[in-house]
Symmetry: C2
Subunit: 453 residues, 2 copies
Amino acid sequence: MESSERDPRKLIRRMLAENGPASALEAFLDNLGATDSLHAVFSLSEDEQRKLLSSLTPDRAAALVEDLPDGHVADLIEDMAPEDAAPIVEELASDHRVDVLSELDSADANAIIAELDEEDASEVRELIIYEPDQAGGLMMTEFASYPMAKTVREVIEDLTGNAVDYQFLTVHYIYVVVKAKKLKGVIRLRDLVFADHELRIGGFATPAVTVAPDTGLDELEVFFAEHDIAAVPVVDDRGFLLGIVRRRAVLEAIAERAEADHLKAAGIIGGDELRSMPVLTRSRRRFAWLSMNIGLNILAASIIAIHEDTLTAVIALAVFLPIVSDMSGCSGNQAVAVSMRELTLGAATPKDVLRVWRKEAIVGLINGIALGILLGAAAWAWKGNPVLGLVVGGALAANTIVAVSIGGTVPLLLRRLKFDPAVASGPLLTTVTDMCGFFLLLSFASMVLPALS
Amino acid sequence: MESSERDPRKLIRRMLAENGPASALEAFLDNLGATDSLHAVFSLSEDEQRKLLSSLTPDRAAALVEDLPDGHVADLIEDMAPEDAAPIVEELASDHRVDVLSELDSADANAIIAELDEEDASEVRELIIYEPDQAGGLMMTEFASYPMAKTVREVIEDLTGNAVDYQFLTVHYIYVVVKAKKLKGVIRLRDLVFADHELRIGGFATPAVTVAPDTGLDELEVFFAEHDIAAVPVVDDRGFLLGIVRRRAVLEAIAERAEADHLKAAGIIGGDELRSMPVLTRSRRRFAWLSMNIGLNILAASIIAIHEDTLTAVIALAVFLPIVSDMSGCSGNQAVAVSMRELTLGAATPKDVLRVWRKEAIVGLINGIALGILLGAAAWAWKGNPVLGLVVGGALAANTIVAVSIGGTVPLLLRRLKFDPAVASGPLLTTVTDMCGFFLLLSFASMVLPALS
């Protein structure tokens, strides 16, 4: 068919099947443009993506890999032969290379590292010990450093002579060191413009602000908010320069973390999901979360089961149980979202539980009364029984206060207890508010049973 | 009390009440450090935050404002006297200044613009016409441009002589123009190092890649993925240089948009919420979302109401209604999250509805069967009735397939119809899956009623 012939995915498939030259594939991808070629790649199966990476030249494959999420890249290269994966990994910038390798099992990572050239391999081994969200994991080791005794002219000549080696040097600083490693200061490249070319660089380097390799992402965010520089040098406790962390890497890591939190809050746990992944991987990852939730749901519903008598007497209550459950979830999730937001902004800390609770309780009271009136009126209108309206509206109002109190404070408490609030806040909230909501509705009803039945 | 005396919030309050000198307040905030002072500021009421901004020197107030969300800053300066707000606004970088002013009502914005000095005011009027998420809204107008005939030496002398004026010039490019405005090319500042100082800059400027002022955020993201530069010049259709968009501004805008999407998905609509905002603003914003949801919930529950006979016959079904509702919501939300993720990454487009549906249906089938077995077994064990288990498990299994089908495709359909998928996906999903789940459970039950009661 004409239309499928123009489908880029199918054309790539055919080119892969025909084992044509890398240059033809590359020209085709170039022609598609960045957005469409990325979309086409994502719509291939993982095996086809692996075949595509192996068919391209390593530097072109590395450029493609830069646009894919790290976890997905790890899934791809994990199942490639190490000798096919290594040339691609070698073409990545040092920070990205380590991010990808640290997502692999250590056996798989070591097999690839063994195929790297000696210098890259030893560098990876040094970097892989750091967490991906620490300065050591975010830093790149491509930087320009020179001894203090060099002159401006010598530095400029070296930089101009080595243009190819410095392709990764997008940052505009040079670092001044003694004994090859110990950081003495920093010079902005633009300041070299203004300097006498015969000066020794040690003479006008300014002291550098630095971070330690175990500096966390939040601290780095604060650091870059306070310092208007494009990159910060990372030094160990001996003062040795290990690498540089670019502002851009920090911004990207923060965005990735926010995205991961968002996925986790929605129940995608244990790794990213893309629909190009194998079906069983996708359903297994989702099921881990679902099976926990069904347990919690059965627990919450047991509150209904023990009030079966009340329900039998007033069957209309069954209509309102899911409403109370769902609306309390909505109110509570709003409070969770504001707490997560305030934690991110630094507007709230885990110590603010009491202040946050007071701020939530008042909003819960106002909105609880408003929602209670709406639902109570609907119940009254439906059955013509004002007492049913009071019971239903009163239960929703009371449970709204409970829901925002829990929703607002649980993320802070989880953070304080070193749990991940993005993962655990939702299930905790819905289970407790469901139990409480069912209990309130059915006990209120049992108190005025004669007026209801 | 000793402890409250050390509470930074209370100390700031006391200093504000005493109307002490700005320098004392500033020294106090400096001493606290960035994180703690930001936290203290957020924990003040909005009126106190306004008083604090007015009490600081304008440049210090502007530095504080840089760390607060734009919408919140707009709330603050909206209720300040324009003559108090203007000096602070004047100290902001041009891109940030416009972001804040564009969040205001036009009357409030104009009152502040009228207080700005002539040059800043006319610049703001030119910039405020662009959407905040377009190149025109993201660009800053602080850049260095020189006519082609200038020599390298003249440019360097100008740059060194005007160090203070160039405090915002964190970007390392100079732009070469003709007739004061028309962009001819760009030179990296670091390349000036290597250039003969007597050369005219027109001779070695390289042609610049540019964007139009109405370029959207997604296009800018693609642009910076393809071009390894720190900032891109924005030119209008006559080729006039309007400003520059820094990579950093694009990364920050993308992170802000993701954060806003996350808040909207959780039901915080119509603006950001911080707990320092007035209670009625907070409850009103939340209630708009809740009142819509309660309507949808009542609609969904009406399915239960019309099956009251079945429920009366088998009261145990009431226990499973909230479980089916909640579990379908969980499964559906996972699919929503993956679709939002794939839309963000460019792995899915609004045209992929059919492919996404196929990929979801198979996962829904597998997980639906697994969840159905778990819940069916629980029902069987509870009442000792295998038919109840079959009904409950079958309904959950079928509804899981429905839920992931809707969850996976609705974000794409909403995007295609130009609705915001972050806002509308959740309520649409839960309403339809609730209705469908209640219907499946109660109709399955009514089909085998004799075996259940």
